[in-house]
Symmetry: C2
């Protein structure tokens, strides 16, 4: 079909190349699986939904090699989600990316303290990050949360410190800050701790990656 024929088709039917919305995601995952196969790679079944969803979110196949799962994290994540455990994030972007209606089906909700005035004031006074203050605030509630960290390495470090001091007990941590300063070190410290965690090793990550990791587990448990 030549370009001109195509134009006529376009004029007649709007966007003939567009799949029905329900089929777009399934087709994306089919392509991802096909390309992983073409690379001669396989993904462990236990981690497949997380790994493929991160690639779906980023179009970056380097996550095939960088995603770290602590030994029992999948079981612990499933248990926490089924119990309706709430989620603390370090960015409103990660909060926006988490599929709230699936989480609500299980009784959970997402908390993010980053934009609170009190958090900003305390961080400024103490010369620390709002993320650090936010993690302390979550510890003060005395509840056990799931942590989805997509931005601040300082949040990860504070979680580990607070956990090691017995001041909080994370059900599991998605440790996916991105960047160039303290990021690799913070992830290494989390992975060296006894906290159940999923971590894209190295510099890469971000709120979108953090939300994708969490949503993959959430969909496995609650559906969409």
């Amino acid at each position: 079909m030549g370009i001109n024929d195509r134009k006529i088709v376009n004029a007649d039917r709007k966007c003939p190349e567009i799949l029905h919305p329900d089929r777009i995601e399934a087709e994306s995952f089919r392509i991802i699986e096909k390309e992983i196969g073409e690379m001669g790679r396989t993904v462990p079944a236990r981690y497949a939904s997380v790994i493929k969803r991160v690639i779906h979110t980023t179009a970056d196949f380097s996550y095939l090699d960088s995603l770290y799962f602590s030994e029992t994290v999948i079981d612990q994540a499933i248990t926490a989600l089924k119990e309706g455990c709430c989620v603390v994030t370090d960015t409103n972007m990660a909060k926006a990316g988490i599929h709230k209606s699936s989480l609500e089906k299980l009784g959970g909700e997402v908390l993010c303290y980053m934009a609170e005035e009190e958090v900003a004031r305390s961080a400024k006074e103490r010369g620390i990050t709002r993320a650090q203050v936010s993690m302390e605030k979550s510890a003060e509630t005395g509840k056990d949360y799931i942590y989805v960290i997509g931005n601040a390495p300082t949040a990860l470090l504070r979680i580990v410190e607070l956990a090691e001091a017995g001041r909080l007990c994370p059900r599991f941590v998605v440790g996916a800050p991105v960047g160039f300063v303290n990021v690799v070190e913070a992830k290494e410290r989390l992975m060296a701790s006894s906290i159940p965690c999923i971590v894209p090793r190295g510099r890469k990550g971000g709120s979108n990656v953090a939300a994708a990791i969490f949503n993959a587990l959430l969909y496995d448990v609650a559906g969409r």
Copy 2:
């Protein structure tokens, strides 16, 4: 200094390795500039703030090669921002990532129709995406917007169709959907149009990348 000495220092002073928050971003950009230099690369001054902020957001230097800027887009973006032009996004994650207080200084705000019930109902009835309906809704207001697209290729295609039909006139478009289905084609179609745009070519992009591109321009005009 051995590991044990380090532990003692750590016990005494919390997180001695953590920079003051105000310095973390500056240090990140210094590292990015240094590594670009080590790669024997330079970035055009006109595009430097956008390119470096995308790398800062993703830790992915492949954006050095993939970011496309239409000829007059920087001037048109600066003009639109200075005039307090409002922004339409295709995801609440991109909306969450845009630095609202800087935008408000200029008189702008961010609109996202994706979560509206009416949009969902119309999309379902018509078998199209909510992103397509959202772009139509923006056209119906009769106003000219900046578009920040971080997820849906169908949003980009509808923007181009509506613009070519004279039903909307984007001030500029950040065209950064991510993924495997229709994404490359939608970006190519936007770049082939006369709409001023910034596009990460290929499959990569995302709400975080879209927000980073927009925020870089925003900070250039309004500061933080």
